[in-house]
Amino acid sequence: MWQWLKQLYHRLGSPKWFYDITGRWIPWLAGLSAVGTVVGLIWGLAYAPADYLQGNSFRIIYIHVPAALLAQSAYMMMAVAGAVYLIWKMKMAAWVAKVIAPVGASFCLIALLTGAIWGKPTWGTWWVWDARLTSMLLLLFLYFGVIALQKAMDSEESGFKAAAILALVGLVNIPIIKYSVEWWNTLHQPATLKLTEKPSMHPDMLIPLLIMIVTTYLFFALLVILRTRNEILWHERKRSWVKEILER
């Protein structure tokens, strides 16, 4: 097991291996996420029953919830990749961390936008300072800080390091932020504003949601891989195997 992990680590650290292997994964990832999207969305949009309270507006859930979940896990992945880079100086990890930031921020934005749009028919307002919404907004700010810091540094390497440190500081802060915002919210929140919290969801509602969640993670992997491959091409441009690709 340990040997296997070590081998995996060395492989992951090798840009060429990553480039080659992901080249083979791309069609699968693309196909699976396309199929998942089509199935999940048709099921969710056309076949799932309407919510008895919110009517059809609840169908936003099929993008809202996956995006929200993903935005949070992507931040964690970014921070972990950053830590791997700081500790083991693995360049691949730095590139992956760099690449996750804008993708994660995009999903964060999707969650915010769809949530806001959903709020209008449900609460009659686009935005309330609810705990989850607020902490999602702060997550977007955290993402933005990481992206901006990385771009601002003169040398790319110190940009990676700085972004990794910031991402880690942010990671430690996320639970604190969430907790404080929730505490603050329960203090102010009039009980009328609550997200739909039903004990159980109709399977016809739930299954497409699960499909969409899985699909979103696959799609995220696809986006990260596509971008990471560009990073590899750029950073390894002077290596012979990249030159071969370029000359083709």
């Binding site: 949009l45 056309a46 076949y47 799932a48 029953p49 309407a50 009517g55 059809n56 507006s57 169908r59 936003i60 993008i63 809202h64 995006a67 993708v103 995009s106 934005l109 999707i110 936008l113 769809t114 749009i117 959903w118 209008k120 028919p121 799609f219 986006l223 596509l226 971008r227 491959r229 560009n230 091409l233 750029w234 441009r237 990249v242 030159k243 370029l246 000359e247």
Partner: protein
Amino acid sequence: MHFDSFTAFLAMGNHGLYVWLSYGLTALIVIWNLLLPGLQRRRLLKQQAQRLRREKKHAPTA
């Protein structure tokens, strides 16, 4: 099938605007994210091919 007709599907029981607006915005962001790596890759390949040609041209003199 939950809806009786396609128009009913589009209307989403008065919530069409909200549902399709959020799906539309999401689609925009997703498409942007999908296109960007491809564009980046194309630019990068072009740039590097140019660089290789430049280096080849200068190589004999060096």
